[in-house]
Amino acid sequence: MIRDAALVAAKDLRLELRARVGMGQVLPFAVLVLLLFAFALDPDRGVLERATPGLFWVGVLFSSVLVLQRSFGVEAEDGILDALRLSGMAPAAIFLGKVAALVVQLAVLEVVLGVGVVVFYDAQPAHAPLLLSVAATATLSIAAAGSVYGALSARLRSRDTLLPMLLLPLLAPVLISATRGFEVGLEGHAGGGWSWVALLGVFATLYLALGAFLFRPLLEDA
C-alpha cells in the first residue's frame, strides 16, 4: 500500500516535472496575485504589512485550486481512470499518493510565495517553528480536502468552475486558522498560535482519513 502510494506520488511529480505546468504557470500566477494585491491595496498606507498573512494564504488558496485542477485533470483523460481501476491498486493508496505529490508541489509554491511576501511586503518572520508548523498542517489540509473534491470534479466538464466553488468554502476554516497562526508568527504576539496549529492538525487528520475512506466510491462512480 505504501509502495503503491509512493508509486503514484512519484508518477505525479514526474508528470509535473515533465509538463512544467506548476513551475511555468502556477508560480507566476501566485506572484501575480501578490502584485495585484499591492495594486489594489495601496502600499503606502501600511495595509499590506498588516494584511500580509491573509494575502499570503489567499494567494496560496487560489494557486492551489489551479494545481489541483491540473493534478486531477490529467487523470480524467485518455481512459486513465479505467486503467487505475483495473490496476488493482487500493484506492486509499492512490489517494495518499496524490496527496503526497500535492504537498510537495504546494510546499514549493509556498516557499516562492513566502519569498515574494518577504520581498514585496517587507515581512519579518519572527517565530520560524510556528510558521513552519502552521504551513505544514495547512498544506496537508489543503492537499487532503482538495484531493477529495478534485477527484469528484475530475470528470465534469464544468470542473474549472465547480472545483473552486466547492473547495474554497470548505477551506474557509483553514484560511482563518492559517492566517491567525501566521499573524502570531510574523508579529511575535503572545501565545495562542499553537492552538491554531492544533485546529489545522485536526482538519488535516480528519480529511486525510475521510478522503482515504471515500476514495473507493470516488474512483468507482465519480
Binding site: 503503491d4 514526474r14 485518455d78 481512459g79 479505467d82 486503467a83 483495473l86 490496476s87 488493482g88 468507482e220
Partner: protein, 275 residues
C-alpha cells in the same frame, strides 16, 4: 515470450462455428438456441466440472438509462479465442467492459474467472487486461515511464514491461519520447504492451487491429494465439473479419445488446483456422 499465470492448458473442443441463425428471444430470460435442448449450455465433450471463464446469463447493463446490454447469454471457455462481431453501437465495447468489471450488471448473472460480478465487480479487475479505445497512457510521460508505471501498478516489474514493449515492436529509440509525440499506431502498441505485461488471464481487446500496420497486426495475432496456447482466454471485438476469423476459435454476433450464438454447444462446426 508472453507468460500468463501458470494454468495447465485444457483440452478444449473447438466449437468455432459462426451462428448465423437467429435465436428466438421472446423475453429476457429464455434464450433457446434453435435445435438445442433448452438450458443446455455445455458441449457434450466438456467435463461438467470445468466452468467457463466467462459466463453471462440474461445480463443487462445500463449506461445511464440506456440498456447497452439487453440480456446477454455468453459462455467463453478457457484458452478460447472468441471474436465479437456486430454493427456499431451493438454493445461490443460494453460487453468487454462488463467482463472487465468496469460496468455494473443490473440484472442477470455474470461470472468471470470465477468471480461473481454482480456481487463484487472489483475483484476480477486485476486478473483481466483490457485494451480499449482510449490509450490509458499519460500523454506527457515517456513510453518507458508509462509502461513502467502501469507495470508496477499492476504488480508486474519494469523488466516485464520492457520485454512487452519489445515484443510489440516499439523501437527503443521511441522509449524516451513523450507519448503525445508518437503516432497513433505506436501509441496503440504501447497501450497493448502496458496490457500485456500484466499477464492477465483474460484478454479483452476492443478492435486490437485498428490503427496498426500489417506488421503490427501480425504481432497482435501472434500474441493472441500465444496467449490462448498457454491457457489465457482472449475475447476481442473486430471489424476486420478476414483476419479475425483466421485467428478466432469461435465467433459470435452482438446486435441490439444481445449476443447470438453465445452459448457453447457440442455439435458446432469448427471454423477454418489459418485456412
Amino acid at each position: 515470450m508472453i507468460r500468463t499465470r501458470p494454468n495447465p492448458p485444457k483440452n478444449f473442443p473447438s466449437t468455432g462455428s459462426t451462428y448465423r441463425r437467429r435465436c428466438l428471444v421472446p423475453d429476457v430470460g429464455a434464450t433457446v438456441p434453435l435445435g438445442r435442448s433448452a438450458g443446455r449450455v455445455d458441449g457434450p465433450d466438456r467435463p461438467p466440472a470445468l466452468a467457463p471463464i466467462v459466463r453471462l446469463r440474461s445480463a443487462v447493463a445500463l449506461l445511464g438509462r440506456f440498456p447497452a446490454l439487453a440480456g446477454v447469454d455468453l459462455d467463453v471457455g478457457r484458452g478460447e479465442i472468441l471474436l465479437l462481431r456486430g454493427p456499431n453501437g451493438a454493445g461490443k465495447t460494453t460487453l468487454l467492459r462488463v467482463c472487465a468489471g468496469l460496468v455494473p450488471v443490473t440484472s442477470g448473472t455474470a461470472t468471470v474467472l470465477g468471480e461473481d460480478l454482480v456481487r463484487d465487480r472489483t475483484a476480477v479487475r486485476r486478473r483481466v487486461g483490457l485494451l480499449g479505445h482510449a490509450t490509458h497512457l499519460y500523454q506527457d510521460l515517456t513510453v518507458a515511464e508509462n509502461v513502467s508505471f502501469w507495470a508496477r501498478a499492476s504488480g508486474s516489474t519494469v523488466e516485464e514491461g520492457r520485454a512487452a514493449l519489445e515484443r510489440l515492436g516499439v523501437a527503443r529509440r521511441l522509449w524516451d519520447l513523450p507519448v503525445h509525440a508518437l503516432s497513433a499506431g505506436q501509441r496503440r502498441r504501447t497501450s497493448f504492451a502496458a496490457m500485456v505485461c500484466r499477464r492477465p488471464e483474460l484478454w479483452l481487446l476492443d478492435e486490437p487491429h485498428a490503427g496498426l500496420d500489417r506488421e503490427g497486426r501480425d504481432i497482435v495475432d501472434g500474441l493472441m494465439v500465444e496467449a490462448a496456447s498457454v491457457g489465457a482466454t482472449v475475447v476481442f471485438a473486430s471489424h476486420e473479419l478476414d483476419r479475425a476469423t483466421g485467428v478466432a476459435h469461435r465467433s459470435v454476433t452482438v446486435e441490439g445488446g444481445v449476443v447470438q450464438g453465445g452459448l457453447l454447444a457440442g455439435d458446432a462446426v469448427p471454423a477454418g483456422r489459418g485456412s
